[in-house]
């Protein structure tokens, strides 16, 4: 069948097995790397003797901290440093590329063995003699912050990085004093392991002549990866050429450079050989950045009529053993930006204690704190409704930011530009058959089952972006192909399809003739990496701007062609139209005439578009209906309804796919996933035999709908969507479970709602 009938441009190679992921690169003379990792959660290191490793068959070299120090590598980037209004700044502890005199989590890299075969490297690694002096480990808040607890970093007494504050504490306390109703709820967003299906890998190939190391590595965008690698290695971006074709899922954990990438660069330069390192699943479970790991203690103050007066949070944020990348941002800014949710709340305050434990460092995982705060707020609202007898729909609607009040700035300074919460909620209630639920509850009860319905209205702030602007280059070739180049890299989002769609629609140019490639250094464009649900509107707006510039560029040519003045032309539906004389000419015709000119220079056919797009506020109402069998603790998700406002939609099927994926990751957190450390800091859920991921059939009845409330904050009117599924699913599923079990006196319960835990709760003595 014709390729034209495939949904996405990416699909042809991916469905035929011709994708190229980082482990799919092979070079002659390649060496294989194996990482020696700490088997202990907390230990000081005496002597490290690798002599037996180095003389083992096939081994070329062992890299240790000596080599890293000699190369003057820094540790991993630590991300933003939080600061309080009183000037107090965060204690920061970067992770070294290779451990020197101590290790702080099981899995921490200690050395890299390089050999002619992977098997030889692994065999040799077993001969390493490393003198560990095992120390007590701390793996949770209570043990980490206790007086006399083992200290991970000398600069951080009691293992505290900072207690961050935001909002107006005094105003909030005043509101609580005056409140008619007050409710508290504690929710845990448990530590998760992202587990994208492609285990991380790196292939590095240094070319001495050009002094450039070529790197194949999963990224979320080359600029970001260049930045991190330059920080670590001191090499300029012109010394590292990143060629990434396909990335097998990311969910936030790919954006930062890992230790192995820097080590592969070092090894390739020292040995002047291509280097390949591929992680095993158990290894990446133990060394990919973990996600979430938050405790959120929320309180809400409500007046007599049901108006929200204040919300406050006291949160605990587990950073893991080191400050890596986004951990701090998540635990400070990201859980406060939207801490009022979709509601008008005059007073807001929060504090969050960021602390260290002997566990894998935590960084961004799909939503990066925003699903967690959405979860906490919507649990809090439901809890208050349950405690004080409010109707859950009416209470929310009463406090929604009304359409006429946009743009609305909340009490911590976040400006939400648009939304129509009532319309979205009404649609969700309609599709989920919310009002007829009680009958279904009674029917389930007749069969001895506990049925519950839960709704949640979430809002997200998509990422503001940390690069000055997003740029996209568009270059026509002489045979009429339009090649688009950008920085941002996909890991399944379908950028090759959506960006080319934007260009095709804007120009009226056949989409088969347009292609998008990410990460080509010689195209000299800057932009944000993929992440924070901003790429479609961020880089996509730059695509649109590029097209608009192209249209402007050839307007004069079109005018000449039609014999009119350029000012009299407007462009719509793929053609220039003259207002005066009812004449038109298509973009296709004009560009073809330009390309036919034998003197046309390729440089002339290239345009750089750009856009500056800040945060957008995707939001939605999700409704989950569950049925719990109290005899087995097993829960069936009877139906799930997601109505989302993601602004203007470019590719409906792709948007829906993102909702599906995000919701099912939320189902994973709600029903399946647990990261368990024992007291000595050993990871008990160390492989997919013990870390349960959702499988096909975890949800069957799934309805998606969209209300497009355009945003004016970017050229496309689009809001993000990548992370919304998580924000909607955690609270709707949790609220549904509480609704199902409240008849048994349960008012709050922690994820994951596994059969054993639910049954245990129902049968607690």
């Amino acid at each position: 069948m014709s390729i034209d009938h495939l949904l996405r441009k990416e699909d042809e190679r991916l469905i035929t097995g011709h994708g190229k992921y980082s482990a799919d690169w092979y070079y002659d003379g390649m060496l294989y790397a194996f990482i020696i990792r700490s088997p202990y959660a907390h230990a000081s290191i005496g002597e490290m003797d690798f002599s037996a490793v180095e003389s083992a068959p096939g081994v070329i070299k062992v890299l240790s901290h000596h080599d890293v120090d000699e190369a003057k590598f820094k540790g991993l980037p630590t991300g933003t440093t939080a600061q309080n209004p009183d000037g107090q700044t965060q204690k920061i502890a970067p992770m070294p590329i290779l451990a020197k005199d101590k290790v702080l989590f099981v899995g921490q890299p200690v050395a890299m063995v390089l050999a002619d075969t992977l098997e030889n490297a692994i065999n040799a690694a077993e001969l390493a003699m490393i003198d560990y002096d095992v120390l007590d480990a701390v793996t949770d808040y209570a043990s980490a912050t206790l007086d006399g607890a083992p200290e991970l970093h000398a600069i951080a007494p009691h293992n505290r990085s900072i207690t961050y504050i935001n909002g107006d504490q005094a105003k909030v306390e005043e509101a609580f004093r005056k409140a008619a109703y007050v409710s508290h709820v504690t929710v845990h967003s448990q530590r998760l392991i992202a587990n994208p299906m492609e285990p991380r890998a790196v292939v590095a190939n240094y070319d001495a002549r050009s002094d450039i190391v070529k790197l194949h590595v999963p990224t979320q965008g080359v600029m970001g990866m260049h930045g991190f690698l330059s920080h670590i290695t001191g090499l300029g971006a012109d010394k590292i050429e990143i060629e990434t074709h396909d990335v097998g899922g990311s969910f936030g954990i790919r954006s930062g450079a890992y230790n192995e990438y820097a080590l592969a660069i070092l090894a390739s330069k020292l040995l002047q050989r291509p280097i390949k390192w591929v992680g095993t699943r158990s290894e990446v479970i133990l060394s990919d950045w973990h996600g979430r790991a938050l405790e959120l203690n929320g309180s809400i103050a409500i007046d007599e009529s049901g108006k929200f007066l204040a919300i406050k949070f006291a949160d605990k944020v587990d950073l893991g053993a080191f400050n890596c990348y986004f951990g701090s941002f998540i635990g400070t800014r990201n859980i406060s930006i939207t801490m009022s949710g979709v509601y008008q709340i005059p007073a807001l305050a929060m504090s969050s204690e960021l602390y260290y434990t002997n566990t894998v460092p935590v960084s961004a995982y799909r939503g990066a704190g925003r699903p967690d705060i959405a979860y906490a707020i919507e649990r809090l609202v439901d809890h208050a409704a349950n405690e004080h007898g409010f109707d859950k729909v009416a209470l929310r609607k009463k406090n929604f930011i009304p359409v006429q009040d946009f743009p609305y700035t909340n009490a911590v300074g976040t400006t939400i530009d648009s939304g129509d919460f009532i319309q979205v909620m009404d649609r969700a209630l309609e599709l989920s058959q919310y009002t007829s639920f009680e009958q279904r509850r009674q029917d389930s009860a007749k069969h001895g089952k506990l049925r519950g319905i839960g709704l949640a209205y979430f809002i997200e702030s998509s990422a503001a972006g940390n690069v000055a602007k997003d740029q996209i280059r568009g270059s026509f070739t002489k045979d009429g192909e339009l090649h688009i180049f950008g920085v941002t890299g996909a890991s399944g989002q379908g950028h090759e399809t959506s960006f080319t769609q934007i260009a095709a629609d804007t120009l009226g140019y056949p989409v088969e003739k347009i292609q998008y490639t990410a990460g080509q250094a010689d195209q000299k464009v800057i932009g944000n990496s993929t992440g924070g649900s901003r790429t479609l509107y961020g880089a996509g707006s730059a695509v649109k701007n590029m097209c608009q510039q192209v249209i402007e560029k050839y307007q004069a040519t079109a005018a000449d062609h039609l014999g009119v003045s350029p000012d009299s032309l407007s462009f719509e539906d793929g053609k220039w139209v003259s207002s005066a004389k009812n004449l038109s000419v298509t973009f296709v015709e004009i560009i073809q005439s330009v390309l036919r000119n034998p003197d046309v220079q390729l440089d002339d056919l290239s345009v750089v578009g750009e856009a500056q797009s800040g945060s957008t506020y995707p939001n939605g109402c999700h409704v989950a209906e569950v049925e719990v069998d109290p005899n087995t603790g097993i829960t069936e998700i009877c139906s799930y309804t997601a109505v989302d406002d993601t602004g203007v939609i470019i590719s409906p099927k792709l948007v829906e796919g993102q909702i599906h994926g995000g919701v099912v990751q939320g189902i994973g957190q709600a029903f399946y996933e647990r990261t368990v450390y024992d007291e000595s800091g050993q990871l008990l859920t160390g492989s997919l035999m013990d870390y349960a991921l959702p499988k096909a059939g975890c949800i069957t009845k799934f309805t998606c709908d969209h209300i497009e409330v355009a945003t004016k904050s970017n050229l496309l009117g689009a809001k993000g969507v990548g992370e919304s599924g998580c924000s909607g699913s955690l609270p709707s599923l949790s609220n549904a479970m509480v609704d199902a079990l409240k008849i048994r006196g349960i008012t709050n319960l922690d994820m994951p709602f596994t059969p054993s835990r639910v049954w245990g709760l129902l049968n607690a003595q």
Binding site: L6, R13, I15, G492, L688
Partner: protein, 152 residues
Amino acid sequence: MKITINGTVQDIAVNDNTLLVDVLRDQLHLTGTHVGCDTSQCGCCTVQMNGSTIKSCTILALQAQDAQITTIEGLANQGLHPVQEAFSQEHGLQCGFCTPGMIMSTVQLLKDFPNPTDDQIMAGLAGNLCRCTGYVNIIAAVKSAAKKMQGQ
């Protein structure tokens, strides 16, 4: 040892402890078959062997000596297999890493059950994990492929 891969008899040198997936990827450079885990859970390495689907990461090359292996690259001789088409059209793939294995398992599932029920689909895909799609469109792709293959 001799082994037939996608219809071509290959004579390859292997170590006793070489896995079939290593032969496919490292020696034959058929990198469409992926390694996603190390406990035989994920199914990214699924290929056909002598008419059944197996996990190529959990079989020694020598155990597969003289067998007929079909990988994702050899699924369709010309054009696309209806299952491949259906996966694309239904948006049953995003990052594509699980996709070759998912497609191979779907081909098998539809051989066993040409008109599968939801339960049969779930059982048929129980050995394949996906982290991107939430499986919703994968299940739609299986149903669409079933219709295509029944000539509807």
